[in-house]
């Protein structure tokens, strides 16, 4: 960096909170590959603040993967906090990537991940401050190609006008193909690049019409596909400050409300020895004090016991702690957690999701009252004092009895704690249910805001026990999430207009302004209720029908019927349920499924 450039950046950084978010230089980042024009320069942009974005494993993997391609280089940028945005604007300074400090507009490719609907406005902040035209149609040959992946890419229309190409599926297999095509076409006109991208299996280019739905692409064998052996180690504390290793993709449980469990099929496991080896390498290279084994349900990993045996010597020799992101609701999981030092502090968290067996059957959450009680029994008998319980409200078919069931579970927790002579502080968290695309509940109406608030209040006001505390989410953010989760491309106008009127970091309560969004919808004559709170007819064409997640619509409809009949669907490890992947992939267990 030239000294004068550093001076400008110093003057900017001296005026913001937490300037270390914007300085880069972390161990494992860079070095920037030398400046010949043949290098395809990719900037991975995370539409939230540094501490959140740096905790996202996906980008650690894609960064490392992209840097491993001889013809490509990766850098990073995160959404600037509003104070930084203000300083950048007032000093006419473009948002820079952390590694080379070059502005975002100087990259060949800018990649976003769509993890959360309420971060969509931050995409616009990054593009605008980075000097990139907001809409695909306004970009020219010298502008970057803007790509996006993540779960949001499976219902992409609300942000489709801002994105040139969506990657549907696992980045490990999509990124090399996308980068290769863009590298071959460096210097060629933009139209040519978009056309070539649209021909890659798993890539959706909104500007190019194709007849068949874009089918999600997956990495079939995780041990032999790319996994990271290097990580960027932040210089300052972040949300998940540890080595992270994904131990499997997908989930076999088939919870009907869970988008991740539907769109990340089939389940694909890593082997214990491959994971242990990766952890050993990562610990040596990063110096981190903790390791997290990540997946949608790590306690379901069939290799877990074996992996513990293999990992333990590595951990003990290095004073490293092991953590699990979430626990299954049963005694087995708690007993396992009891053996992990990192889990001893604080409390344990469980997600029964619903208060009665009836409603848990509707959502196919395979947890019984016995499972809950035995998990609580194990928790308090092992000496924990605190338990956090996650529930949802506004689930299809929910009645007052189901909400009262939440009280029952909390009360049982208190008495189990008392029996074990533990303090037994129970904190319950109640989130509004958001029906998501590609799930059996994608046709349902989301509960309106007034009713959500009323139910939240009712549950809170009727708590009988002093040891139980309950927080419920204010429904406005839930509602807006619901609008975008099943939205179409008309909503892009609302996103852009709300952003122009100041919407930033909508997922952060301190920045969220619902009134502003309401005004925008009113001024643009868009009815947000028609997205969130409207039940769809089963034969209605859905805005995400052109994306094939791999799970068939017929399966989703069948699951919906079973939900309303209160029927469970078995865990697909116990036998194939015919979700649509059977016979389509070579993944073990799915290659010749039966109905």
């Amino acid at each position: 960096m030239y000294l004068s450039e550093e001076k400008t950046k110093r003057a900017v950084l001296a005026r913001v909170k937490r300037p270390s978010r914007y300085i880069g230089g972390e161990w494992g980042s860079g070095p920037v590959k030398d400046g010949n024009n043949n290098i395809l320069r990719v900037c991975y942009a995370f539409p939230d603040v540094y501490e959140v974005g740096m905790s996202y494993l996906g980008y650690q993997i894609l960064y490392s993967l992209t840097k491993s391609l001889p013809y490509a280089d990766a850098e990073r940028v995160y959404a600037p906090w509003p104070d930084m945005e203000e300083v950048l604007r007032s000093s006419h300074c473009k948002l820079w990537a952390l590694e080379s400090k070059r502005p975002v507009c100087d990259f060949d490719v800018v990649g976003f991940t769509l993890q959360y609907e309420l971060s969509y406005t931050n995409i616009l902040t990054i593009l605008d401050l980075g000097g990139v035209p907001l809409r695909s149609e306004h970009r020219g040959d010298s502008d970057p190609i803007v790509i996006a992946g993540g779960p949001g890419a499976l219902s992409p229309e609300p942000v489709a006008p801002f994105i040139d190409a969506f990657c549907i599926g696992d980045g490990e297999v999509l990124v090399p193909d996308v980068m290769n095509v863009l590298h071959e076409l460096q210097g060629r006109p933009r139209n040519e690049k978009l056309l070539a991208l649209s021909k890659i299996s798993g890539v959706y280019v909104p500007q190019i019409q194709v007849s068949d739905p874009v089918r999600r692409r997956i990495a079939e064998d995780l041990d032999s596909s790319f996994y990271h052996t290097d990580m960027i180690v932040p210089n300052t504390g972040i949300v998940h400050d540890r080595v992270a290793v994904q131990v499997f993709k997908g989930c076999t449980r088939g919870c009907r409300f869970c988008q991740a469990g539907m769109i990340d099929r089939p389940v694909r496991e890593r082997s214990a020895s491959s994971v242990a080896k990766q952890i050993d390498t990562l610990l040596k290279k990063t110096g981190w004090e903790e390791v997290g084994l990540l997946s949608l349900a790590t306690c379901d990993w069939t290799q877990l016991d074996d992996a513990f045996k293999k990992i333990r010597p590595i951990l003990e020799g290095n004073k490293v702690k092991l953590s699990l992101p979430s626990l299954r609701v049963d005694a087995f999981s708690v007993n396992m957690a009891a053996g992990l030092e990192s889990m001893r502090k604080g409390g344990l968290t469980f997600a029964p999701e619903a208060g009665t067996q009836r409603l848990r059957n509707v959502i196919n959450k395979g947890v019984s009252d016995d499972d809950i009680d035995s998990a609580l029994e194990a928790t308090f008998s092992h000496g924990w004092d605190r338990v956090k319980l996650y529930f949802m409200m506004g689930l299809p078919t929910e009645t007052e009895e189901d909400l009262a069931g939440i009280h029952d579970i909390c009360d049982r927790a208190v008495s189990i704690a008392r029996r074990n002579k533990r303090r037994g502080d129970i904190s319950a968290s109640l989130a509004g249910f958001v029906p998501k695309a590609h799930t059996p509940f994608q046709w349902e109406a989301q509960l309106d805001r007034a009713s959500l608030r009323e139910r939240g209040r009712w549950v809170k006001n009727n708590i009988r026990n002093r040891k139980v505390s309950l927080t419920y989410h204010e429904p406005e953010q839930t509602y807006l999430e619901g609008v975008f989760a099943r939205g179409d491309s008309r909503l892009a106008d609302a996103i852009e207009e709300a952003w122009r009127r100041g919407a930033r970091f909508d997922g952060w309560t301190e920045h969220f302004n619902f009134e502003r969004w309401s005004e925008v919808f009113r001024d643009l004559e868009i009815d947000p209720d028609s997205y969130a709170c409207r039940a769809r007819a089963l034969n209605e064409k859905l805005p995400w029908d052109h994306i094939n997640s791999g799970v068939s619509k017929a399966f989703l409809m069948h699951e919906r019927e079973k939900a309303f009949a209160g029927e469970r669907t078995r865990d697909c490890r116990e036998g194939c349920n015919g979700c649509g992947w059977q016979g389509y992939t070579n993944v073990r267990g799915c290659s010749n499924g039966q109905n």
Binding site: K7, V12, A14, I23, G25, N235, W288, K345
Partner: protein, 205 residues
């Protein structure tokens, strides 16, 4: 409180330059200990409920201020001839250990009591007026020496707890010399003890 008799206390002198000077002082222990771990060095851990590497940092260096000669003490289970080299190789850009030595004297906090600051304007020169303002406001008990050098003010100060870079910036701002941090580039050139005879801040190694 601290275990093993075989441990060795190593005092390092490091520099913190470039944009990494915007990293908070309190982020440094974790950063140095992770680097030591990457280098394969074995640090002494504190006992107790939440063991962590045994480290003692010098007086806080404000965010944005470059440090040229910053002291810190680290306790290791083993320390050898190549340890410094491998540790340095595992540090992020901008942080570099310049010297190290086994230490057995008083705690760092007791000996790191004086510092030299160089205050420069970004794009303008500071002169006698700024010097006088600082001299008057800091007071002679705390201010050991002050001079103007190449458009910058060089100050040797004591009482580091109260006389931080932040307090110097505040004085300059309140007296209309600058608008605050964004106008200035500050370097802490040395940290140590004040020697009135030589008129210098003596290093801690």
């Amino acid at each position: 409180m601290y275990g093993d008799a075989a441990m060795v206390r190593i005092r390092i002198i490091f520099e913190k330059k470039g944009l990494i000077s915007f990293l908070n002082h309190q982020d440094l222990p974790v950063l140095f200990s992770r680097a030591a771990k990457r280098a394969g060095l074995s640090m002494e851990f504190t006992q107790g409920f939440s063991p962590h590497p045994h480290i003692s940092l010098g007086p806080p260096l404000a965010s944005g201020v470059e440090g040229c000669y910053e002291p810190a003490d680290f306790w290791f289970n083993e320390w050898g001839g190549t340890s410094l080299e491998v540790w340095n190789a595992a540090l992020p850009e901008g942080l570099k250990i310049l010297e190290c030595a086994e230490a057995d004297g008083p705690a760092l906090a007791k000996s790191a009591v004086a510092a030299v600051y160089r205050i420069c304007g970004l794009g303008f020169e500071l002169g006698e007026k700024a010097k006088t303002v600082l001299q008057e406001s800091v007071g002679e008990n705390t201010l050991y020496a002050a001079s103007v050098d190449c458009g910058c003010i060089v100050l040797a100060v004591g009482d580091l707890e109260h006389c931080s870079a932040g307090s110097l910036v505040k004085i300059l701002r309140e007296n209309g010399i600058c608008s605050g941090w964004p106008d200035l580039f500050i370097v802490r050139e040395s940290v140590g003890s004040w020697d009135a005879v030589s008129g210098r801040v003596l290093p801690l190694i």
